[in-house]
């Protein structure tokens, strides 16, 4: 790293955006905002902005692609051309193809897909503005969209990354922390099962750091999980009020 680079952790122990190491960015969640989708959600996490739609369960076309004992899950993680510093080609990049796969795999364990043989459930994640942590925020929002669509779930999936910058473990990295930092570890967690359904890491961590990072990830995910439940409750309160107003 060059000397002139801004320090990512200040002398006061705070991060460039003033957060403490284990502090999440401001998060705003909204459920059910798209008219056509069976379920939808929007999340702002710091400057990252992501919209998710869920369609299904619906019939598979062509039929021979369906499975006789369960629904298939289709997942697309996609970044808008204007979501990044340099314009991104709308064609799916290798990174987007990989992330679509591991995000799908993060949801397979919570969806009761056996209830819907020969059907498919689609999860479409669109990153509208990217400032780090978009796969995790996308998972967090996709859980809400699945719930909004009424897909039976074992639990919501909550997701957050932990990373290391300048030797310090931090949660919920923004783009600069991700790029300049020494490690990034996205985690998706299923509270009801107490299991991890997505885990990736790049950078370098000692065993001790890894153990601590996992612990921080779980705590961060639990805080996000509370917000998810709050956002769903809010949606149903609003829906109920809307119904009552009409009566």
């Amino acid at each position: 790293m060059e000397e002139s680079r801004q320090k990512l952790i200040g002398e006061n122990g705070l991060r460039i955006d003033g957060r403490k190491p284990d502090e999440l960015r401001p998060i705003r969640m909204e459920v059910g905002l798209l008219a056509n989708a069976d379920g939808s959600a929007y999340i702002e996490q710091g400057k990252s902005k992501i919209i998710v739609a869920v369609y299904g369960p619906r019939e598979v076309h062509p039929k021979h692609l369906g499975l006789s004992d369960r629904a298939i899950v289709r997942c697309r993680y996609h970044m808008a051309p204007f979501s990044t510093q340099e314009r991104k080609s709308p064609a799916p990049s290798r990174r987007e193809i990989e992330l679509s796969k591991i995000i799908r795999e993060a949801f397979e364990p919570v969806i009761f897909s056996e209830y819907y043989p020969r059907s498919m459930i689609d999860i479409f994640i669109e990153v509208l503005q990217s400032d780090g942590g978009t796969r995790c925020a996308g998972i967090t929002a996709a859980s809400l969209a699945l719930a909004d669509a009424g897909i039976p779930l074992r639990d919501l999936v909550a997701s957050c990354a932990v990373g290391k910058v300048e030797g310090c473990l931090i949660v919920d990295l923004n783009d600069e922390e991700d790029k300049e930092g020494e490690a990034d570890m996205p985690v998706a967690y299923i509270p009801a099962l107490d299991t991890v359904s997505l885990l990736q890491m790049d950078g370098q961590l000692t065993e001790e750091e890894f153990v601590e990072a996992l612990k921080m990830a779980k705590e961060a995910c639990m805080r996000i999980y509370q917000m998810q439940k709050q956002a769903l409750k809010q949606k149903y309160v609003e829906a109920k009020e809307a119904v009552e107003e009409q009566e």
């Binding site: 798209l34 056509n36 919209i51 619906r58 204007f82 990044t84 340099e86 314009r87 689609d122 669109e126």
Partner: protein, 271 residues
């Protein structure tokens, strides 16, 4: 190759009802034939893009992001900047949209918006050249369809022109044959405010701003874009039906008068 599309027809009851309503000059959602749905335009929604705007026409929802980069000008217009319009019919916007490379519908949409912007000379491309023949500003207009409930042409056109008006241009300093961003920004040189008006034909009726249900019933549509001075700068008839000359005349009159209304809603347009 273009192929007659397979479309799910409306139910018989609904289509019969729609036509009865239209005969009375009314529409299923209570609008008059020349009434737009609520037009909501919000500019600057994507702060990291150089420009952006989100438009709602009822349940139709479109987001446009503007990115500005530098690159070589086209060899046949060495003294002009570059304008590129692209549209994505996202699978989250409707169950009929599948992921994949742009199909004829998204290409047509992008090209119709492109012509509205280009032919109105809304963007002063001549001021977007940095080094003639070598380096120009390249303005990307990316149209993102978030929810499809009809009239994507108009919603996209309003979002595109609003995004351009909202956009800032990174100032570059010339060093040799390369441009270095100074970190400063100035406004994009937007000189006009083209507004497209789309009119669908159902049975014998002409109606503006069709919903998706109305588009399903329409035999044809015509999109007419006019400039601030009321000149027609782009037309696109689409769909497998026809218009009589009288209908075209009526359509262009409607387009001219509705455009003035909509233009007053474009944020940043100082007429």
């Amino acid at each position: 190759m273009s192929i007659t599309p397979q479309t799910e027809p409306l139910t018989k009851i609904k289509s019969k009802q729609m036509i009865e309503f239209l005969k009375l000059g009314k529409r299923l959602d209570g609008r008059s034939l020349t009434e737009y749905r609520d037009v909501k335009i919000e500019a600057g929604v994507i702060g990291k893009a150089e420009g952006s705007a989100q438009v709602s026409l009822g349940n139709t929802r479109v987001l446009v992001g503007i990115k500005v980069e530098t690159g070589p000008p086209y060899s046949d217009t060495p003294n002009m900047g570059v304008l590129t319009v692209n549209a994505e019919l996202l699978p989250l916007a409707h169950e009929i949209f599948e992921p994949g490379p742009p199909d004829e519908n998204s290409i047509e949409l992008a090209r119709v918006v492109d012509r509205s912007l280009r032919e109105s000379k809304a963007l002063d491309l001549e001021s977007l050249i940095i080094i003639p023949g070598k380096l120009a500003y390249v303005v990307f207009v990316d149209i993102y369809i978030l929810n499809h409930d009809g009239n994507l042409f108009d919603a996209s056109e309003y979002a595109a022109i609003s995004g351009l008006m909202n956009a800032k241009l990174p100032v570059v300093e010339v060093e040799g044959e390369e441009g270095k961003p100074t970190g400063d920004f100035k406004e994009l040189p937007v000189r006009d405010c083209p507004v497209s008006i789309t009119i669908a034909k159902i049975d014998e009726a002409l109606l503006v701003d069709p919903t998706l249900e109305e588009e399903t019933m329409a035999t044809a549509k015509i999109t007419i874009t006019t400039t601030k001075d009321g000149k027609i700068c782009a037309i696109q008839k689409s769909g497998g039906g026809t218009f009589t000359f009288e209908e075209i005349m009526e359509a262009q009159k409607i387009a001219r008068s509705k455009a003035a209304e909509v233009r007053s809603l474009i944020p940043g347009w100082r007429g």
